[in-house]
Amino acid sequence: MTTLLTSPRDLVRADAVHRSVYTDPAIFDLEMERIFGRAWLYLAHDSELPKPGDYVVRHMGTQGVILTRGKDGAVHAIFNRCSHRGATLCAFEKGSAPAGHQCPYHGWLFNPDGTLKGIPHPGGYDGVLDKSDLAITKVRTATYRGFIFGNLAGDAAGPLEDFLGHMKTSIDDLVDRSPTGQLEVGKYQLRHYYRANWKMTFENLNDTIHPGFAHSASVVSAKAVMAEVGAENVVPTVGMMLANGKPIQFFQNLDMVTVPGGHSYIGGHMGANYTPDTADAYTAALIAHHGPERAKEVLSVDRHLMLLYPSSFWHARYQTIRIMRPVRHDLTEMIGYTFRLVGAPEETHVNAIEYCTGANSAASPVIADDLEIYERCLEGNAYDAREWVPMARGLGEVREQDNARTRSPSTSEIYIRNQFAAWAAYMGAEA
């Protein structure tokens, strides 16, 4: 195992990356400090905290934070850690604490913004305790169109909108699809985990070459079932599996867009759609809200996954966001959330739920194959003297480039090179 004798920047070349970035626990620790400690991380949606006192617990890298709606209506983020003995305050992922967060150990009570509200037996602290010194550390937050992001770097971080850049358009794509401009988070989340590095998911989800191989078994099986039931009777989930069987030339023609910061998306290519009744009712509702021209514009946007480096994956068409939670260098959790387009037919949310199940369940035939591959890569990258992992596919195939974005064929590994350019910039900056 490599130790960090050299600068992390030396682990990234223009066309290859050193394998230790996937296997070295010391690099993982530095990533938590320098990437997850500096980037804007998507945490929660406004609709998860409808009333004062409502809270959710989320992770920023390996650290737990509590987001609570205050009486003033603002959302406050603080570490999930009592400032007395260090116990976590919240045991549940969500709940309501209108009276404040109370530590289960000695009953210290905190306001949503982390200030100390009360302690038991205050006489024991007479003249020795300054309550203001014992406020829980706050985490800086910012909201874009109802989506709450946090940043552990506090004032040292730039504005959220600069971080998002062109990727704002993919968040707009999600919100604008609502016939009321409102989204509501689904009640249930779907989680899977794998025993490999967090970056594997970022490097896999918009990889358009692997499906024809890694997912060939589900394509073969989906085709066999289609032959048995008839193409016109294929259900959407099976349709999604068939989408993985498209020829490579299809993906070569499709665009991939990469932007500074490690973010990317590719053009839409999933076959499943609403039933005619749902589509008609939905389109009518959208026209009523946006007017016919704008509604047409909203529906014409067709993007597959937006990868918001380093922690979330957004699919506007299927109203699904997945948050990646890095646990260890060799352990990663993925958490899937669906969103209801408020005012749209309920079937549109059912469609999102179906996508989320197919895309994020550990029991999804497609995901099961991916997880197996991630774990094989972790194992294999510990072997042999070959230390560099190439990421050269499509180098020199750029179609168009300006300051905001680069357009390439979706078969290119440019999105991986772009992620590692961001990785090296975060990791190489010492303070």
Partner: protein
Amino acid sequence: MIVPLITEVTALIELEAALLDDCRYPEWLALFTEDCLYWAPVSPEMVSPREGPSHFRDDRQIMMVRTHRLANPRAFGAEPSPRTLHVISSVRIEEDRGEELLASSSQIMLEYRNRGRFEEDQRAFGSRVRHRLRRTPEGLRIAEKRIDLINAEGAFNAMAAPL
């Protein structure tokens, strides 16, 4: 001889699990109705798979794809193939509605995949399972199998074998 209903129901639930353990998938599928639902929710509170995502939310077509794939040697997520063992206990008939009846059972499924990773290669899934059974001219058939994993809300690693 008249077989008591509980005996018939228990035999069916045990047969269903045994067919999975023996990888006899076409026979397993034949126990389910055309309009069946095979469902492992992410919370015991869910009343419908339309409320949110699920670990498994299979109609017959997805069950067909899933089992066809398990028999395909290039299914990486199932390579090497999982070997399973179901242990079933506490079979009860919860409700008899005439055309359909509801039965519940406690099930533990052990799953083993030989990946050379010692104890990580074997997992245990514990569930309260509910079968909605339909009386048909061919006998009892499964209209719905709902698997409430005791850790339903948790994160899972790849699950290739049906529970």
